[in-house]
């Protein structure tokens, strides 16, 4: 009789251990997924809130006569602040990716480090990425991507 009770107790403990293991694994897995979903929703909401617009006139691009650098002004029309630093901006000019060392970005109206709604940033791109000799016949196409929001600026140089 005693041996039956002991074996029952052992099976009882074993079943509890297995059940606790299953429940623990499930909870950990769900917690990880929940954290990932929260992070993902934060990214998505920031991408939806980010909206930019090109201020510069395509008809007369601002190209410095001495350095040959192109300056493009970009306005934040979304409800998400944008850090005024090259890391925030991805650019492709005429099919070539412009690395962070190939351009500088500044606040167009002051010395702020964040462009909030309605603020304008000035992006100055090195002349080596621009096609054309200045006679106004060569087309250029610039893609600016900030937080998944893409704008196109086309001009002749």
């Amino acid at each position: 009789m005693a041996s039956v009770s002991v074996s029952h107790l052992i099976i009882f403990i074993a079943s509890l251990v297995v059940a606790a293991g299953v429940a623990g694994t499930l909870t950990t897995g769900v917690e990880r997924v929940s954290n990932a979903v929260e992070d993902g929703s934060l990214d998505v909401s920031q991408q939806v809130r980010t909206d930019i617009d090109i201020v510069s006139d395509p008809n007369s691009p601002s190209i410095n006569t001495t350095t040959g650098n192109l300056t493009v002004h970009v306005r934040n029309t979304g409800s998400q602040g944008i850090f005024i630093q090259p890391d925030s901006i991805d650019m492709v000019l005429n099919g070539d990716f412009v690395p962070n060392s190939g351009f500088t970005v500044t606040d167009a109206n002051g010395a702020q480090t964040t462009a909030r709604t309605g603020d304008v940033m000035a992006i100055e791109i090195d002349d080596s990425y621009i096609d054309g000799n200045g006679d106004g016949t060569t087309g250029n196409r610039l893609y600016i991507t900030i937080n998944s929001d893409e704008e196109v600026y086309e001009f002749r140089y």
Partner: protein, 150 residues
Amino acid sequence: MGFSVSAATAVIFAGLFLALGIFYPAMVNSYERVQAADADQADRALEQANTDIQLADATDGGNQLDVTLTNNGSTSLTVSETDVVVDGTYIQRSELDTTVVDVDGTDDSATDLWLPGETLEITYNPTGQFNGNRVRVVTEHGVAVSGAIN
């Protein structure tokens, strides 16, 4: 044996409840966050569609540029967030003098509001002679007008 099954089932169900308790708020928060951003974007799109400005006149006054614009839309615009680009060169907002002429014809150079039907006069007075052929004005939501300077 019978009690072991019941106990194990109870533990697993407790784990399921806990997991659901973790998952539900995370999903609700995430959904609401994206929903709020979507609603915000829809609001912006509506305001952008309702915004309309017209370049009435751009005159080279010798030493200065005078631009006259009309708010033909149905949204109120912010004077201090209106940008002027002359021949591709961005003019800093601090260099612009603005006057809003309301529907009664009263001038107000201190206001920051440019309401529907009102006229905005922008004066850019650079040091020395003004030179320029083309002006582009960009207001809120990226709504822009451009034209030649007379």
